[in-house]
Every structure is written in structure tokens, then in C-alpha cells.
Symmetry: C2
Subunit: 266 residues, 2 copies
């Protein structure tokens, strides 16, 4: 398959790829951008092959890069070589890694997941920080969760910041987007325990009666969970707060709780 | 005390305050910026009074703002009223809260802290992300730690991002900056157990023999801890990694470990 060389900043493909840093354009195109050989190799090993691979001229040869090129070619994808300057323009990073890929977004509906396929699932409501979102995906991978379920208006899991903070877990973990009403109806129609970190009618998080599949729910960074969401949970647990503050960072709270659930279920 | 009104963008005070968003200027001036009534109230209640208080004209009256103004006046500080536009320019946020304060940085040397004053201390090596740094301070507050000790070349704890992510804990927690050599000499000259999350010669983090004062050490976001730093620890513990990745976000790892230490020591 011939490779395309792109040498001009005003090339339409450069403009398109660059536009994927904006949510509006990602949603219109149904595509997103991921950068770096490690991330793209994680993707490949999980069966996610970029539609377009963009490589900097003068990059170092690497066996993993060769494997990536062959996978993109085999899948009928597009391989583009361009200058480091143009790659910088595409990724928006002043020091881009030598390779970036464009992926088609995938289906993130609830019916894509089998709740019994994993003992733990993370659930976030109105999580606004893409770094927190990516960090939760990374934690989900670490605790052997099935995925991250995003409730209401969350940050975009396919944003550059989220993909980067996930350290590849966006490719290994299921990502679901749902309204609260749809999620709670789905939850009640099947197996599973919904657990929230809460101060209301809560038991200590250590030694609480966790059950698989356990859905660990955290709320918005500044507002926390709405009270009716908390009260709809099967279990409310409280973590020690020894200082002046009454809450943890959302991704931290999810991780402390998820590791406790993991220890209880193991 | 008379209040100053500032109406011009080119006012030298506006330029000075605005410059505090840059580390170079913070270090030269020995001052930093914190924003929002809640953060400034946390500071006041911990005995940290801003040298300069900047308030937006047309702000809503609030008893906590009144208390803040009185505290600044009593301490001989400067109170400035300005437009919302100028406050935006100072803070760099498009939607600033109605009040910001300038604080003198304080001494962050090791000899400022009493290691036996708290059962847990967090220690970070070459932590580069100011959001992670602030999140660690917030976690330190939550677990009743004494503070956060920053080893080698870390992000600036007095950056706007770090102060914001700390949710006020920068005012409640001790912050120390030290080289590894100075830290390890100080550590060995007294009481205390240095614990690292590690894959080398490590025991499971649950049920490990933690002892107070326990110093929980995490490394740089991309490199982790240098091997000789790990080997200098009194205890190395490992956390389950069930997925593809072999590490957690640094602030997440510190929190999961710190909550385990808290449960063990309680």
C-alpha cells in the first residue's frame, strides 16, 4: 500500500486530524486521536487498529512500529508520513512522540457490556475533568474491572487528555455512556450491587458487605452525587476523613474504594 | 485602612499579581496566588493571612468575606477592589471567583517539621504534575497526615494548579522540599519507616507491618522511583495489578497505600 507524504500545513488531512482535539469535531467525525508508540501498541494488542497512522519523518526504527504499520496495512488503513513540525500541529504538543493514530470511536451503549464478565465496574457521574476520567480508566484496568460507566454529562473519554491519562486503558476497558435513568433501569434489571462513597446512612468502607459484580459510583468533582442517586444505591460506605476537608479527589475516592472491594471479593 | 481601587489593566500591581502564575516570578517574589472564598477561608482558619486581598467590585456580600477582610486589615495587609475583568486577567481564569489573595511563601525546609506529630507523611519524588501534587496534599489532609515531602525536582506546590487541586490542604498540611540525600539523612537520624510501592523484593500492601510515623513514598509519573531509592526504603509493598498496566497514577497509588497504612495504624 502506498504511503502518503504530507508536507503542507494547510493539507486537508492535517486540518482534519488537528480538529480532532476539539470535542465538537470528534463527535461529528466519530473519530479520536491517540499518540505515542506505547499507547498505539496497547491499542493494537487489544485489537484496536487506527484507521490512519501518522508518522514523523526521521523517526527511529522500532520493531513495535513495524508491527503497527503492518496491522494498519492489513486492516486497509491509511499511513501518512509527515514532518515533526506538522505532527506537532496535529497533536498540539510541543514535543510530540513520533507517531499518532486516528481511531473510529466505538459503541458506548450499556448493551455492549456483560455485567457478569468482571467483579468490579467503576461508575462516574458528571465527571468533568478528562484527567480524572483517564485516571479512573487506568485504575479500572489495575483492579481488574470490566470498565467505566459514565453517567450524565461527563468529560469525553475520547479526548486527548483522557486517552493520555488512561495510559492505554481506554483500549482495554469498556467505556459506557448513559443517562442516570437508563443506567438505574439497566442496573435493576439484572445482577449487581451499586455502592457509593457517601456520608448519608453509610457504613465504614472497610469490611462492608461488597458483592460482585460491584458497581463503584463516584460523583461530580465539586458537587458530589445528587442525594437521590446516593439513596438509590444498594450500599453507602464512608471513608475516614481525618482532616479539614470532607471529600477526596473523585479519581482517588474511586481507587481507594475499588481496591477495598477487590480485597473483599478476592 | 484605606482600600485601593484599581481600574487599569496596566497597573503595576495587576502586572505583579498576574506574573505570580509563572514559577519564575513566584520564586523571585516569594509569593503565590490563591483564589476563591472557600480556599481563602481555609487559609485564614489555619492562620495563613494573605498579604494582599483582591476583590471584584459588585461581588455579593458574605460573612466569610467580611471575616477575611478584617483578618487582612488586622495583619496590616493590602485590600484592593477591582473589576471582574481585571480579576480575570490576574487569575487567568475565564470565570474567576470574586476574591483572590496573595500569600508569602513559607519555609519548606525539613527542620520545620516534627515527624512524630503525625502517624503518616506522604513523600513524592520528582512529581511533575501540579494537579497530582495538589491531589496528594488533599489526600494527606484526609488521612490525617502531617504533610507532603517533595524530593528532587517536583512541580511547585505554590502553583495555581497545585493550590487549587489541594482544595485548601496546602494551608493545612506541611509542605517540605528537599533533595534525596538530605531527606534520607534526616530520615535515618530519627524515628520512622520509609515505605515504597514497588515490584522489587516487596510484600503485599495489605497486612504489611506498617509503623508510625510511616513515610509513604511514590515516584515520578513516568519513571517511577529510582532503584536505589526503592532499596533504601525500610519496607517495599506491592499492590495488585490485574490488568495490562503495571502502575497506577502516582496520586492514586499514594492514596490507596496511605489509606491502608491508616487502617493498619488505627
Amino acid at each position: 500500500m502506498p504511503r502518503r507524504q504530507i508536507t503542507g500545513f494547510s493539507n486537508p488531512t492535517v486540518k482534519l486530524l488537528r480538529s480532532l482535539r476539539d470535542k465538537k469535531h470528534r463527535k461529528r467525525e466519530g473519530k479520536f486521536l491517540a499518540e505515542g508508540l506505547r499507547l498505539l501498541t496497547d491499542a493494537r494488542e487489544c485489537g484496536r487498529i487506527p484507521e490512519t497512522l501518522v508518522m514523523a519523518e526521521g523517526r527511529d526504527a522500532h520493531p513495535l512500529l513495524g508491527a503497527l504499520e503492518r496491522a494498519v496495512e492489513a486492516a486497509g488503513g491509511d499511513i501518512i508520513e509527515t514532518s515533526a513540525d506538522i505532527l506537532t500541529k496535529i497533536t498540539g504538543k510541543s514535543n510530540p512522540q513520533a507517531v499518532a493514530g486516528v481511531f473510529a470511536e466505538w459503541d458506548t451503549s450499556l448493551d455492549q457490556i456483560d455485567r457478569d464478565s468482571a467483579p468490579i465496574w467503576l461508575v462516574a457521574q458528571a465527571l468533568r475533568d478528562p484527567g480524572n476520567l483517564g485516571t479512573m480508566l487506568r485504575t479500572a484496568d489495575a483492579v481488574g474491572a470490566g470498565g467505566l460507566i459514565l453517567i450524565d454529562d461527563c468529560a469525553d473519554p475520547f479526548s486527548v487528555e483522557s486517552v493520555r491519562a488512561s495510559m492505554g486503558a481506554v483500549f482495554t476497558q469498556h467505556v459506557v455512556q448513559a443517562t442516570w435513568d437508563d443506567f438505574i433501569a439497566w442496573h435493576r434489571a439484572g445482577n449487581g450491587q451499586l455502592v457509593a462513597a457517601s456520608l448519608r446512612d453509610a457504613v465504614p468502607y472497610r469490611g462492608a458487605p461488597y458483592q460482585a459484580p460491584c458497581f463503584v459510583l463516584v460523583g461530580n468533582e465539586s458537587q458530589g452525587l445528587p442525594e437521590d442517586y446516593e439513596m438509590a444505591c444498594d450500599l453507602r460506605v464512608t471513608m475516614p476523613m481525618k482532616g479539614r476537608a470532607d471529600s477526596l479527589n473523585a479519581a482517588v475516592a474511586a481507587a481507594v474504594l475499588a481496591y477495598e472491594v477487590l480485597a473483599a471479593l478476592d
